[in-house]
């Protein structure tokens, strides 16, 4: 009952948030010093006449006043038309449809890997506090935290693609492949997913390790131990469970960083995801595409926050959602 009301309320809040975000995008677009016609022309901007470029701007209506442009965009949006991407020469919907899946797959798989690995390793490290595994993991985690993700990616390519030759150095499928095959794609995605997961894992791993270590000293865990329950039951059934709650919040707040990392990983591994087009759209003053990507990202973050909160109530009966 309360969950349903929460969802409804959040959806109501989402509308003004999305509207404000898109207006912000358009305001930034108007403030941008870049001329979309010059960006569109690329190198030809240096040989194109002023008259030629002015004609392009007139064709697109980008010299219209900002409210006019925004109104046009909103009315089209309501009719399900996200507009035309100037940089990609495609409808915005097909740019996103063709690419969002790969980004989602990359982020989703990396997140799953991070969660499983950090929960498992973090808990074991906490249990054997001060042991070689604990010390080794912590040292590694701090080291990885200090490494930029693109550097990790290049290092991984050097080691696993060039020296060992286990995985391809980039791309989504074998360069001469005659189509998209699941096995081929999996083989190509192992390295990028692992790199993205490794780059994000330290925060999760250290968090799990610390909170499990703390909860191992909690009264109810000590009581469980006192009652003579087996070590594994106490560790995973009692200590980890308590530690899980703040962990959910961490996932929610860390999601944008994961998406940011995905952009870099996609670039290094030449993956056709949303990352590269986002950069291209920003550089090319392609506001229909930027606005749509921003909207989608905002919607994903809002949804993730909502799911985190719902999961919170499910996991901890003490938490009551607003209303």
């Amino acid at each position: 009952m309360s969950a349903r009301r929460t969802v409804g309320r959040r959806l109501l809040v989402a509308v003004p948030v999305l509207a404000a975000t898109s207006m912000g995008m358009f305001a930034l677009g108007a403030a941008s010093p870049y001329d979309p016609a010059e960006q569109y022309a690329g190198a030809a901007a240096f040989t194109a006449t002023d008259e030629n470029l002015a004609q392009l701007r007139a064709n697109w209506g980008v010299d219209d006043p900002l409210p006019v442009q925004y109104w046009r965009w909103i009315t089209n949006l309501v009719q399900g038309d996200l507009g035309w991407s100037i940089t990609r020469h495609e409808p915005v919907t097909s740019v996103i449809a063709a690419r969002a899946g790969w980004t989602l797959l990359l982020v989703g798989a990396a997140l799953a890997l991070v969660l499983v690995a950090s929960l498992l390793l973090g808990t074991v490290a906490a249990y054997r506090r001060g042991g070689w595994l604990d010390r080794g993991l912590r040292a590694a985690a701090y080291a990885v935290e200090a490494m930029p993700v693109f550097w990790l990616a290049l290092a991984a390519i050097t080691v696993f693609a060039l020296v060992l030759g286990w995985f391809p150095a980039g791309g989504l499928t074998d360069i001469a492949a005659d189509g998209v095959h699941a096995g081929d794609v999996a083989h190509h995605l192992i390295l990028p997913i692992t790199v993205l997961a490794v780059s994000q894992a330290p925060w999760f791993l250290l968090f799990v390790r610390d909170s499990v270590a703390d909860s191992l000293r909690d009264d109810h865990v000590l009581a469980a131990r006192g009652r003579g329950l087996p070590g594994r039951t106490v560790l995973f059934g009692h200590a980890l469970r308590t530690a899980l709650l703040p962990f959910l919040t961490l996932i929610g707040t860390h999601l944008p960083e994961l998406v940011g990392g995905a952009v870099l990983v996609e670039t290094v591994f030449s993956l056709p995801g949303l990352g590269a087009v986002t950069v291209q759209a920003a550089l090319g003053s392609d506001f229909p595409l930027l606005a749509a990507i921003t909207l989608v990202t905002t919607a994903v973050v809002l949804t993730a926050n909502l799911l985190t909160d719902l999961a919170y109530t499910a996991a901890d009966p003490r938490v009551r959602l607003d209303g």
């Binding site: 064709n59 286990w166 005659d178 083989h187 030449s270 056709p272």
Partner: protein, 526 residues
């Protein structure tokens, strides 16, 4: 197509489980009919009307004319080189018989008329209109003849007929800007488009009905890898048969057996534009001193890693129009340069910087911050100028910050076309383009230069044109509106088993079209 020893290493390392379960499908492992090339330059569209492969060699399309290995015009979709009327304003083209588009429709004069009219249509978002300013009308008196009517005689007009011809039937009545054709086009060229995954690859298959004969290979994959280092690493991993790489990365692969490095000359120059509106760079002695005092050889060796040559004029030495007398010393001639400054009263001040009439010999050289090559050239000029007692402040900026300052601050620029001296120079150095767009930024005005450039495009006679461009080059050398620094070489790494590579002088613009693989349909792989 992964190299065998990689497989073996993988086996030895007991990761068979991983590789085996993924069972990488590899097309055509046996016959080697696939050629894979890699480039950073991914086109925005594959429609010639919207600026794809306008200089020909686009793999997918043909123009009325094409260029051979020496960049000489040869007939392509035209049956013979077009006929130009005595007044230079009517160009008649007889078309080749029996050519069909990839979809089977026959090629006729209607397609040529459609293509050129689309470029001229203001509703079509084409930047080519700027290059076809002279074109008044295009007509088709019959199915195999096209007539171009020009507003004024324009000597290099045939060079503009390399533009790929699109089929009228596939585009008629559509909004060309938004047509699906732009991503999956139909042409007459040696290859047809199988698929294009933006940001990843373009897959082409042989067009067996190609008018110049069946392509020697069945399939072509153009991989788009924007980052230089990643492209080098993937080349090293054996993914590509040919790849364009930065000179230093290419040199690194040149030592790996199985690869050959090609250094390809270009008409792509880099130089410093010196604005006449600045009190220091506006002084002829300062411009001349800089021109003599920069060390072009050091720039070629140090900044370009040897992949380039000194530049003294906007017409490359490989061009038939190059004037051999317009040249200089590759190294810095500091003594002559300081002599020029001394002679007109630029005397060193207390800090070593020269002063004349209260004006300090100091100015700014801007460069686009994201272009590391131009940055290094700006730094090299700064160091050379310091030895002359001229203080240069290099400043890396974005184009929006550069644009408002172009009339008063110097700028590292680059351009150049190997096809005709009129193409870039007419607008870059003509006084009527002073201050327009990115053309004559420094507001250079010379009646002699204007006359020479105008003669170059008005005169049809090659000897008279050559004379006009000699006058143009000598006048530029006298006025020094730019200090030309270097011509670049494009560097490619090609698998040694590939046969048929024939480098030709390249333009600034090169991607899928017009790169080392301009004649890819004749390449074979052993």
């Amino acid at each position: 197509m992964r190299v065998t020893f990689h497989r073996l290493t993988a086996a030895a390392a007991l990761v068979l489980a991983v590789t085996a379960c993924s069972a990488t499908p590899q097309a055509q492992d046996s016959n080697g009919g696939t050629i894979v090339v890699a480039t950073a330059g991914e086109p925005d569209t594959l429609n010639p009307v919207l600026n794809y492969g306008v200089d020909g060699a686009s793999l997918i399309f043909d123009g009325l004319v094409a260029r051979d290995g020496r960049n000489e015009l040869t007939p392509a979709l035209a049956a013979a080189l077009p006929d130009v009327s005595a007044d230079g304003r009517t160009v008649t083209v007889k078309l080749r018989d029996g050519v069909v588009f990839h979809d089977g429709t026959p090629f006729t004069s209607a397609d040529v008329v459609f293509t050129y009219r689309a470029v001229l249509d203001p509703k079509v978002d084409s930047t080519l209109r700027s290059d076809l300013d002279m074109l008044d009308a295009v007509e088709a008196p019959d199915a195999s003849t096209v007539v171009f009517r020009l507003r004024y005689a324009y000597a290099p007009f045939l060079q503009r007929l390399t533009l790929g011809i699109v089929p009228a039937t596939a585009l008629q009545g559509q909004d060309i800007n938004k047509s699906g054709f732009n991503r999956k086009p139909i042409g007459t060229g040696p290859y047809q488009v199988e698929s294009w995954t933006a940001g990843d690859r373009l897959v082409l298959t042989a067009n067996d009905r190609y008018f110049a004969g069946k392509p020697a290979n069945r399939r072509v994959v153009v991989a788009f890898v924007a980052d230089d280092n990643i492209r080098a690493q993937r080349t090293r991993a054996g993914e590509f048969d040919a790849a364009e790489l930065a000179p230093k990365l290419a040199a690194g692969l040149g030592t790996v057996t199985g690869f050959t490095v090609h250094k390809v000359p270009t008409a792509d120059y880099r130089g410093v534009m010196l604005p006449f509106g600045n009190p220091v760079t506006g002084d002829l002695a300062v411009r001349k001193a800089l021109n003599t005092g920069v060390d072009r050889k050091a720039m070629v060796d140090g900044v370009l890693g040897g992949a380039g040559e000194p530049a003294y004029s906007p017409i490359p030495p490989t061009s038939a129009f190059a004037d051999a007398t317009v040249t200089g010393k590759p190294g810095a001639d500091t003594a002559t340069a300081t002599g020029l400054l001394d002679a007109v009263g630029w005397v060193p001040g207390a800090d070593g910087i020269r002063v004349k009439g209260g004006q300090k010999a100091a100015f700014t050289i801007m460069y686009p911050a994201s272009d590391s090559l131009r940055k290094e050239l700006a730094l090299a000029v700064t160091a050379d100028a310091k030895k002359l007692g001229i203080q240069v402040t290099p400043e890396g900026l974005t184009w929006d910050a550069i644009t408002p300052r172009m009339k008063t601050d110097a700028l590292v620029m680059g351009w150049g076309s190997p096809y005709d001296p009129d193409f870039v120079s007419y607008k870059l150095f003509g006084s009527k383009f002073a201050g327009e767009g990115y053309f004559n930024l420094g507001l250079y005005k010379s009646a002699e230069t204007d006359k020479a450039l105008q003669d170059g495009r008005d005169q049809a006679d090659p000897a008279k044109r050559k004379d006009a461009y000699s006058r143009f080059q000598r006048q530029l050398a006298a006025d020094v509106p730019w200090v030309f620094l270097t011509y670049l070489q494009h560097t490619y790494v090609v698998r040694s088993t590939v046969k048929g590579v024939q480098p030709r002088v390249e333009a600034h613009e090169h991607d899928v079209a017009n790169s080392l693989w301009w004649n890819l349909h004749t390449w074979t792989k052993g």
